[in-house]
């Protein structure tokens, strides 16, 4: 699960298309048997990076190694990687079995094994019985599975997946997420998964690289990326975009004393490498914020006076849109634990205090925002 036994090594890789820098000096180590996601908005370079691992684009700079072997200049058909394409790219003139067996001859699998290998791969994705169908006779979910079987049948060292669930409906997506993760655990193959859906990445990944503007903003375990974003972009992208600024009152024994402009003082663990900045920026996830009608600052609970701007009932939860006196906007999620009638504690326009436990304070890197 760690990067100590790297399966894919990306060293200072850049890719330029004319004047556009699609991937900008990315260095990553993806461990053997790891489920690794490249996450980011469209145009962030995640697909280009994946395509460079697969051999469909040649890096403008840098090197790519797979299983320790330099792959930078190796064409796609000689790489130990296989890809599940975004729109599956199944061969329409071939049956399911023929699609799955397409690459066997290049792998030099003995002809006597072909039948068994097709059956194994098709069984793995639970499509047994459909071997004779053509892609046009399959549903979207089934096609997706054929694409998966076709790639896995060649026993790749690394499976590359380019938004493979993007074309499926919500319910099927959820099912496939669980299934993909199970498959990866069972086979122990390295999966490199590209997605723009943070929830999808969180559901499946061991580690996630969040990309923005061709650069990797943060590489961390799934929970860490979600809970402890380090840059503005990652915080925003992971839905934690409640940005605060606090003044540093002092540092002692690894503990940082902070004060908010409202006067509330609280303490958080000092981040490694803290160099005595005057002020820090931090985020608090919406579900970690709580709305109270009293200021709890006196008890060491950071509190910010806010005005309720809007309230959105979402069934399971309620989303509050609030604004501080200086016009900063925050979002607060509240689980609807109480019955609907009791829930409307705050009217739109009312004043409240947004509070959080100090341990939910997530400090952003100094100068964060530019990588």
């Amino acid at each position: 699960m760690s990067a100590s036994d790297p399966s894919v090594e990306i060293e200072g890789v850049s890719k330029r298309f004319g004047d556009v820098v699609a991937v900008d000096d990315v260095t990553l180590r993806i461990g053997r048997g790891e489920f690794f996601s490249l996450l980011g908005p469209s145009g962030c370079g995640k697909t280009t990076l994946l395509r460079m691992i697969g051999g469909f684009e040649v890096p403008s700079a840098g090197a790519i190694r797979v299983g320790g072997a330099d792959m930078t200049a190796v064409p796609a058909h000689r790489r130990p990687t296989n890809m599940v394409f975004q729109h599956y790219a199944l061969f329409p003139h071939l049956t399911v079995a023929e699609n799955v067996a397409f690459g066997f001859r290049y792998k030099e699998f003995p002809a006597g094994e072909h039948g068994r290998r097709v059956a194994d791969a098709v069984g793995l994705v639970r499509l047994s019985g459909l071997e004779g169908r053509y892609p046009a006779q399959l549903s979207g979910g089934q096609r997706q599975r054929v694409a998966l079987a076709r790639a896995l049948a060649l026993e790749p060292q690394v499976l590359l997946l380019d938004e493979p669930l993007g074309a499926l409906d919500q319910k099927l997506r959820k099912e496939m997420q669980v299934e993909l993760k199970g498959l990866q655990r069972k086979l122990g193959i390295t999966f490199v998964f590209v997605t723009h859906d943070q929830e999808e990445a969180l559901t499946m990944s061991d580690r996630i690289a969040v990309m923005n503007g061709g650069k990797v903003e943060q590489v961390d375990g799934a929970a860490a990326v979600f809970e402890r974003p380090r840059t503005d972009f990652v915080a925003e992208f992971m839905g934690a975009g409640n940005f605060f600024t606090a003044t540093v009152e002092g540092v002692a024994e690894g503990v940082l004393s902070l004060s908010l402009r409202d006067g509330a003082r609280f303490e958080v663990p000092a981040p490694a490498g803290f160099r005595g900045e005057q002020s820090v920026r931090f985020v608090v996830r919406p579900e970690k914020l709580d709305l109270r009608n009293r200021n709890l600052a006196a008890r060491g609970i950071p509190s910010v006076r806010v005005t309720i701007e809007d309230r959105v009932y979402q069934g399971v939860s309620t989303v509050w849109m609030v604004a501080s006196e200086r016009g900063e906007r925050f979002v607060v999620y509240e689980q609807n634990e109480r019955p609907f009638e009791e829930r409307g504690r705050f009217a739109v326009g009312a004043t409240a205090f947004a509070c959080w436990h100090p341990r939910h304070t997530v400090l952003l890197d100094a100068g964060a925002g530019d990588g």
Partner: protein
């Protein structure tokens, strides 16, 4: 009982199809019927049609098939064979030359150049086919452009005889039919999903292997359509072989034309022409069967 609007709609559809029926019927079916009738008749002494006094006796005598019997004589079989061979080679050459061109325009060329490149393929149609064929005479004749260049470059000592032989006919045919091969190939290559080629590479197939296992099968409708569009006219061509082949190259097209214009044996010409028509219809029928077997109408949209 169908409702009135539906009936009106159907009537409208028939009305819209009327011009097609008039043209097809008046300019194709009726002449075809006349030709068929003519092919059973006999030539009169002065090149007209011998009147038949007793139809029953004429049919019973079997004379109505005399033209068809004659058309199977070795002399003529040889001509059919030459025509067939020339049409096959022309079609093959067209395919070999057109595929790279169509592939370049559809797949490799930058998008903004596609329109221009396609226009270049079609531009020859702006000039009369006859004039373009005459132009080939100017190029190929003994003191023509080709020989002048070859002599000046010192590649040959004496002018080559490029004109009035099978080679010249072949060049003329390939040149004339090339666009009819390029366009359907372009249409099917244009529709080819590029990610399928990447998938081929990804699964271990090199570019050559990917081409033959994916590109060719998936553009087969265009290939078949192009083959038909080139093969059928090549089979009946007579202008090209007349102008570029001289007196030596007689093809079935020339044979038919001769029967009507020179030999004045219209019934015999009609018989051969009808045979040719049947061959072409059989080819089209085979193509339609192929298209049906392909299903999804994928290939029908290219030609039919």
């Amino acid at each position: 009982m169908p409702d009135a609007p539906a009936q009106r709609r159907r009537l409208g559809a028939y009305l819209l199809a009327l011009p097609t029926w008039v043209i097809l019927g008046g300019a194709f079916l009726v002449p075809l019927a006349i030709m068929l009738g003519l092919s059973f008749a006999q030539r009169s002494t002065y090149g007209g049609i011998q009147p038949v006094d007793d139809l029953a006796a004429y049919v019973a005598s079997g004379n109505f098939l005399a033209n068809y019997a004659r058309s199977l004589e070795p002399t003529y079989l040889q001509i059919y064979w030459r025509s067939l061979w020339l049409a096959v080679v022309t079609t093959a050459l067209c395919l070999v030359v057109s595929y790279p061109i169509a592939y370049f325009v559809a797949v490799l060329a930058p998008r903004r150049w596609k329109g221009t490149l396609l226009a270049l393929v079609v531009i020859p149609f702006w000039t009369s086919f006859l004039i373009r064929t005459y132009a080939w005479m100017l190029i190929l004749r003994t003191e023509g452009l080709a020989n002048t260049v070859l002599l000046k470059l010192g590649l040959v000592q004496a002018p080559l005889s490029l004109l009035y032989n099978d080679f010249a006919v072949m060049i003329g045919l390939v040149y004339a039919e090339l666009p009819f091969m390029i366009l359907p190939l372009f249409a099917s290559l244009e529709k080819l999903d590029r990610s399928l080629l990447e998938a081929g590479n990804d699964l271990g197939a090199g570019d050559v292997s990917t081409f033959f296992r994916i590109t060719v099968p998936l553009t087969m409708p265009g290939i078949v359509a192009g083959i038909l569009l080139v093969f059928i006219p090549s089979l009946g061509q007579f202008v090209v072989s007349d102008l570029l082949g001289g007196a030596k190259t007689v093809l079935v097209g020339n044979l038919i034309q001769n029967q009507f214009a020179v030999a004045r044996n219209k019934p015999f010409g009609a018989a051969i022409a009808f045979e040719l028509t049947v061959v072409v219809l059989l080819l089209l029928w085979a193509y339609a069967a192929y298209a049906r077997r392909q299903g999804n109408g994928a290939s029908r949209e290219v030609l039919l």
